[in-house]
Amino acid sequence: MSFFLHSKKSRRQMLRSMMGGGVVSLTLPFLDCFLNTNGTALASGAPIPTRFGTWYWGMGQTPGRAVKDKVATGPGIEFLEETESLIPHKDKLNYFGKFNMPLDGRSNYTHFSGWVANRTGTAPEAGGNIPAPTLDLLIADEIGKGTRFRTLDVSSVGMARQNYSARNTFNRAAAEIDPVALFDRIYGPEFADPNKADFKPDPDVRMRKSVLSAFTEETKDYMKSLGAVDKQRMDQYFTSIREIENQLALQLTKPEPNLACVVPTRPGELGPDEVVRVREIDSVIETHKVMTKILAMAVACNQTNVFNMVFTDSFANVRRVGETYTHHLLTHEEAIDADRGYQPLTYSFNKASMDGMASFIDIIDSIPEGDGTLLDNCLIFASSETNYARLHTIDGVPVYLIGGAGGRMKQGMYVAGGGDPITRVGLTAMQIMGVPVQNWGTKSLETSKTISEIVV
């Protein structure tokens, strides 16, 4: 029986996708018994998906204290004191040094141009301008279909707007900043636990999907009658609806068992008198760990193939209790210690960022998957917006590619840029992730040079 049987509407508008139709297949799970003998693919022959993520921190690094410069590309990264927490992961990541970020005469909008150019391949024309899609979304267009969320965007610094993922200036999703809300969004009633023995599709879900489809068809007709609404904005609206329809369709399909998927504990809610100092650095570190655990398991549970995590925002509004200066203010106003040769308080924040990155890697790497870990099947693009924040330099902005990318990327390499545009890193990442792109970027940031040294 179909919905709206008595309706005068055309069959096209009759809930096409309901009642047994339009089943959307889940990406397959990773239970060992479904894997091939070498653990890199499922018994069906379908490979374990490679996931893509980004990790962001503000304010770059301390010159001469992070990673030792090299003149040639090769194995072995020499981590210095600021990045020493990354040493245990030295064989699971690549570092890219001495790449440039030419802006072709456009202004360096401080703490903004750097991340925009790095992630979109185009220098912004004005502060706030995002001229092209960020690479995570280009990758999501390729690998993000068929999961519940096209991307998951998370921030541990409590600023929803500060999400460095966007299609353009006005098409920028907000980051999830509340651990409890993040947990509920992923593991709430809509989550189908793949390891539960029984699965019974909720009839409400089927009807919700049908009703939504009916209204969507109606809306399309109405918008046509207007004849002239903003096409691009409406196209995005309908794309967004399809994402929800996809989510609903997935809820009607029994997920296959997945031993890697273990639902994490729901974070505790704050009591009425409890206050979290959201942007106090120790609080950020703790929130980051909690949210990373939730996020990483969402990836392992096949809820998304693309994720973005912001550790601290590009203006690094983080601080320590009792200090009048934020990380950002310190980069500009803290004097260089004559003995040590750097800004000590600023350094401590920079080091905290690298410690945060190490904890992020730890958590991803702690989830078994196939014959390795989730990290082996991830490619994580970690970057900041500046190199030396004190001077707002963007040439030499630090970038790491982390994870095994499903065996498609060599690791443990120092890649010497020699002044090449930083977009070579993004281009290579997209190619590894299977995006059919030959060249990327505009003007002096345009490149077609893959970093072949890291590609398997």
Binding site: G127, M207, D230, N317, L391
Partner: protein, 563 residues
């Protein structure tokens, strides 16, 4: 349900006196403008809440966050005209819609919110569904549902009711569907042919009603305004004037004015406000909420209730305080229960006007210290509409990092910036103003010294000398840029875009009227809301592929009119 509550007896409205339309009375005619292409604006989170509360009642909870808008040309209202609904943004709207619909049909609410009761609640009831969607749909879409839209809603409700054996589930599902359509989420400028306009187009009566209502009440039109749209009254000067006068006199005007100032003053920043409580023990989340509320209460009372001159918001000693603010201002509060009470700072007090209130002073400061630069920049950009250039990206900060420099006050520290050419251009715009507020710390507590040094707060605002924050406030009061800025931004807010090139003369005309009215905000709102410019639409823009980019011409209407 406010649908009926908002019906205001026409008899309560006095005859609209022509004299209130000051510009017409003065004989100055409105400059002709051609408007801008029709557009579509996403509801702001506050507009969404207001519409839902107006239709379903204040008790309906909307707990989730919405995707933020992008502040454009100094206003979120302008960013709303460019807003795109992202997948995660739609997910939020969808979940909120489900929650609202669930609450609307809740056993405790249905008798009030659903205008009929089915004979058998276990089955579909087409008549009752149709009645519900007719009434509710008209308010949510700000126009009657088309027959096709009605069929979709009613059919969905009936089918779900039959499937789940529950009439109210059907209503819930159908209502969820309505709440995620563009016709609800966007304020769409629908147009119809009009041979008398330059573009050959005019907004439909319903589109005019929405413009009016979201400007003056920050919500959807009420029954009377919709009726005026349906009778064609909004296509007549008299019809517009009657509605505008009714709406300006309504208590809902306060809500509209509040929404404008929240946007104009960028008070959304309060969402991310954080202070170090070891440095500022008087600061709590409740204090921050009170600080924002104080600013808005002061402004609304001054401009709406008192209809006092706008520039006096910078000098008025009258305000409202609660116990949280009493701690910051160090004044006794009669109501320790957290309630608000009127308060007037003594004549010899250091505070006067909104710029000396905690809201402004804490919002434009760092978490652990004040900021003369942020405060000065806020005054320039928000209140004087003067753009402060972005800082250059190649500053050598070593000039300011001398650990042996005797910098104890903000003025000491910022003097260095003002002497370096690459910094001076901007800091000379911001710091002389901001330093005038330095007797207030990062949450607005009064102080006379910083690190043992007496704070010097003298300065000048574009050549007008001031000795302290109060005389700076007087300089703001006297600045011609202050009302000019407000006029420009209020019109931008109303139109959802910056003024077009051919509207500059119109904006000056509004400024003149504002001045003639003694800077009455209500008068300025009347002038905008009754102007032709406010409703003017030009032809839709086209892009290379021939697709009309931004507009909405209603072909059905065109056919009906035989065009």
């Amino acid at each position: 349900m406010l649908i009926s509550k908002m019906k205001i007896n026409i008899g309560q409205i006095a005859c609209v006196a022509a004299a209130i339309f000051a510009l017409t009375a003065c004989g100055e005619s409105e400059p002709q403008t051609s408007g801008a292409p029709p557009d579509m604006r996403r509801l702001t989170s506050e507009q969404y809440r207001n519409v839902i509360h107006d239709v379903f009642g204040e008790h309906v909870e909307i707990a989730s966050r919405f995707d933020p808008l992008v502040r454009t040309d100094g206003l979120f209202a302008v960013g709303a005209s460019k807003a795109i609904i992202t997948p995660s943004g739609f997910e939020k709207f969808y979940n909120i819609a489900r929650s609202v619909a669930r609450q609307a049909v809740d056993k405790d609410n249905r008798a009030v919110l659903i205008p009929c009761a089915p004979a058998d609640a276990l089955r579909a009831n087409e008549a009752c569904s149709r009645q519900f969607f007719t009434e509710v749909g008209r308010h949510l879409y700000r126009r009657p549902l088309t027959e096709s839209e009605m069929e979709t809603a009613v059919s969905a409700a009936n089918e779900v009711a039959d499937q789940l054996n529950d009439f109210y589930s059907g209503i819930e599902f159908g209502l969820t569907g309505l709440l995620v359509t563009p016709s609800f989420l966007f304020i769409i400028d629908e147009t119809e042919p009009d041979s008398s306009s330059l573009s050959g187009l005019r907004l439909t009566g319903h589109a005019k009603a929405s413009r009016l209502s979201f400007l003056l009440w920050n919500s959807a039109p009420d029954d009377m305004l919709l009726e005026a749209a349906e009778t064609g009254a909004l296509h007549t000067d008299n019809g517009i004037e009657r509605q505008v006068e009714r709406m300006v006199r309504s208590p809902f005007l306060a809500r509209g004015v509040r929404a404008f100032f929240e946007d104009f003053l960028d008070l959304e920043k309060f969402e991310n406000l954080e202070k170090d409580t070891t440095i500022y023990p008087a600061y709590t989340i409740n204090t921050a909420e009170s600080a924002k509320e104080q600013m808005l209460r002061t402004i609304v009372d001054h401009t709406v209730n008192q209809d006092a001159p706008y520039p006096e918001i910078f000098t008025t000693r009258k305000t409202f305080i609660d116990s949280h603010l009493g701690r910051v201002y160090r004044v006794p509060v009669a109501r320790p229960d957290g309630g608000w009470e009127p308060y007037e700072f003594p004549e010899d007090d250091v505070r006067a006007g909104i710029l000396t209130q905690m809201g402004f002073l804490s919002l434009f400061s760092h978490p652990g210290r004040s900021s003369a630069t942020l405060r000065g920049k806020a005054v320039r950009e928000l209140l004087l509409c003067q753009k402060v250039p972005d800082p250059p990206g190649d500053i050598d900060f070593s000039l300011f990092n001398d650990p042996n420099a005797p910098s104890r006050t903000a003025r000491d520290r910022l003097t260095a910036h003002a002497t370096v050419p690459s910094c001076a251009g901007c800091h000379k715009l911001t710091d002389p103003i901001g330093l005038g507020f330095e007797q207030f710390d990062g949450i607005g507590q009064f102080r006379v010294a910083e690190q043992g040094a007496i704070i010097d707060v003298a300065g000048d605002l574009d050549g007008n000398q001031f000795a302290d924050a109060k005389s700076l406030a007087q300089a703001m009061h006297d600045s011609p840029s202050v009302p000019a800025c407000l006029t420009n931004q209020l019109y931008s807010y109303a139109a959802g875009r910056a003024p077009e090139r051919d509207e500059r003369e119109f904006v000056r005309y509004l400024e003149d009227g504002f001045s003639d009215s003694g800077y009455s905000l209500k008068s300025l709102l009347r002038d905008i809301a009754t102007s032709d410019a406010f409703y003017a639409v030009s032809e839709p823009k086209r892009v290379d592929d021939g697709v009309v980019r931004a507009a909405s011409f209603n072909d059905k209407t065109k056919q009906e009119l035989g065009s």
